[in-house]
């Protein structure tokens, strides 16, 4: 571009960015990197000792804390899976099934607003809904399905999973909606004209093109859910110990290196799972033979 050679674009100045990035490294990047260092330290008399070892990791295994990691990842994977099942048809309907702009805007607003609202305020209603004397138990008994109130509705694994489903639904819908929305209607029409059944169109056209959105949705849903501390406490009632409360108790008894290694183990497992998901999706796309790949 001639303009750029004649004189540089006005106001390109990296001074502010440089200052910000230095502060950002000091306040954010170094602490996160430090977590890995912490996990290799040993604790003696409640003080970390500069003596690199794998002791903290052994303790995560021997103290049974790994079960927390296992349970947290299991719960988060289950909820994420249910979200995919719920969100994919819905995103498809939202992107291609309805033509009304008003409906779209309303649905998108309804999905966005709760994200910024207090999670504990949104969760506490379940306690009264699912409680022993709550409306769900009442209607179950009134209709004769059960004789006595179901006590596993609240303060249980079931309650935690149910409570997680609502707040983490929008993060799955949005990326899927965006990626399906980007598929041109012409492409779908072409697929039909070439004799593909809607099932073929879904499997060989929509699904491969929506894969990036599916991946982003899984990441944006799965990761924050692992760190959630509110819903397991409010709806698990102390029976469902997930990562957050486990780390909190470790820090309270000043066991810093084990807290750090548990965090590192979680980060590693998360990264592995995400890599596995993306690897599998790449293979799926390759094997199904993305029909658009040859056109481009």
């Amino acid at each position: 571009m001639v303009r750029d050679i004649l004189h540089p674009p006005a106001g390109t100045n990296y001074k502010g960015l440089t200052i910000f990035l230095s502060a950002w490294s000091f306040f954010v990047l170094i602490p996160i990197a430090g977590l890995f260092l912490w996990s290799f330290l040993t604790m003696e008399n409640f003080r970390p000792v500069w003596n690199l070892s794998l002791q903290a990791y052994r303790e995560v295994l021997s103290s049974g804390r790994w079960q927390v990691a296992y349970r947290t990842l299991g719960t988060a994977s289950l909820v994420t899976l249910v979200e995919v099942v719920l969100a994919f048809p819905f995103a498809l309907w939202l992107a291609k099934g309805t033509r009304k702009t008003g409906v779209k805007i309303t649905v998108l607003a309804l999905l966005t607003i709760p994200f910024f609202l207090s999670l504990s305020a949104r969760t506490i209603g379940w306690r009264s809904l699912l409680g022993l004397h709550g409306p769900i138990n009442y209607s179950l008994m009134a209709s004769g399905i059960t004789d006595s109130p179901l006590d596993w509705l609240l303060f249980s694994q079931f309650a935690v999973v149910l409570g997680l489903l609502g707040p983490y639904f929008p993060t799955m819908v949005f990326p899927l909606y965006l990626s399906i929305g980007l598929i041109d209607d012409e492409i779908l029409a072409a697929s039909k004209d070439l004799g593909a059944t809607p099932k073929d169109t879904l499997l060989y056209v929509i699904l491969p093109l929506a894969f990036p959105g599916l991946g982003a949705g899984i990441i944006f849903t799965f990761i924050p859910m692992i760190g959630d501390s509110v819903i397991p406490t409010l709806l698990g009632g102390g029976h469902v110990i997930l990562l957050s409360s486990s780390v909190e108790s470790l820090l309270r008894i000043l066991n810093y290196s084990v807290a750090a290694s548990l965090s590192v183990v979680m980060l590693m497992l998360m990264t592995l799972m995400i890599m596995a998901v993306s690897y599998v999706s790449v293979i799926v796309i390759r094997r199904k033979g993305n029909p658009l790949g040859e056109i481009r």
């Binding site: 996160i32 969100a87 910024f116 207090s118 305020a121 004397h133 609502g166 707040p167 990761i223």
Partner: protein, 279 residues
């Protein structure tokens, strides 16, 4: 999958109109999971006994009681001050970073800066909270307090503010600045009267998002609070305990929800109001 295709006379199973209905039904089910607890909370806050399972005996007594028991006032003031501070710093930093990234010539550099600044979105809150706690409290030996809450909330809110600024900064035509320069405007004037007015809506929306994210933050605050009590921590602890004044949580939560919703609606009108069709 759209209307035209479904209007066939003898549909195969895979193009049956039921699939559209399933998509809609799944979405409505999920929306119910989101909104039923919220509406139930509002209903119960007007009930005579919110802790019982059933609404009834409607009253505004609990709202009136909020005025008497003032325990929530101190946490509210702390949270408001904290959220205001975090949103101001977020607006400032996201403007600096956002406008620079948007005009970076080398795309690889811009991607690297974004990867580093958006990193907190990819790490669970507990783990960031733990990392900051170990670094500031244990390694550097600082006492946790309002400043550490500020840092923790900023790390959480900043990526969102940056995304909001990028929405407008990437749309900004840099040639406008050259035109202003040709007309004799100095750099400060160019920013104030050309660039800022066009970035303003993204900056304000980012600031409002930061405010709300900080105002409702719990996961990181647990580790960084020191002896400070923020409103969400106060509400959460009241809700997890079984004390008698837990009833007041219901009207308090309703008021927080109401205030937050107003701010969100305002932010979205700022960010997308001018071209509703795009959104």
């Amino acid at each position: 999958m759209n209307g035209r295709e479904c209007a066939k006379s003898t549909p195969a199973w895979s193009e049956h109109p039921i699939w559209r209905k399933i998509g809609l039904a799944f979405g409505l089910a999920a929306l119910l999971l989101i909104y039923v607890p919220i509406l139930w909370l509002i209903l119960m806050s007007f009930s005579g006994d919110p802790l019982s399972g059933f609404p009834g005996d409607f009253t505004v007594r609990w709202y009136a009681n909020l005025g008497e028991s003032r325990n929530w006032l101190q946490p509210l003031v702390v949270s408001l001050a904290l959220a205001t501070g975090v949103s101001i710093v977020s607006m400032l930093c996201s403007t600096i970073v956002g406008r620079t990234v948007a005009r970076m010539r080398r795309k690889g550099m811009a991607a690297a800066v974004l990867a580093v600044t958006l990193l907190p979105l990819a790490i669970p809150g507990v783990i960031i909270g733990t990392a900051l706690f170990l670094y500031f409290r244990v390694l550097l030996g600082f006492k946790m307090g309002i400043w550490s809450l500020c840092i923790g909330h900023f790390v959480w809110a900043f990526p969102f503010a940056l995304l909001a600024v990028l929405v407008v900064a990437l749309r900004f035509d840099i040639r406008l600045l050259d035109a202003a320069a040709d007309l004799g405007a100095d750099p400060l004037e160019r920013f104030r009267s050309v660039e800022f007015p066009l970035l303003k809506d993204g900056i304000i929306a980012g600031g409002l998002f930061s405010f709300l994210l900080s105002f409702n933050e719990i996961a990181r605050s647990i580790y960084l609070r020191g002896r400070i009590e923020t409103l969400p921590l106060y509400v959460w602890q009241q809700a997890s305990s079984h004390r008698s004044n837990v009833v007041l949580i219901y009207p308090l939560n309703v008021l927080i929800l109401l205030g937050s919703t107003l701010v969100v609606v305002f932010a979205f009108r700022r960010l997308f109001g001018k071209n509703t069709a795009v959104k």
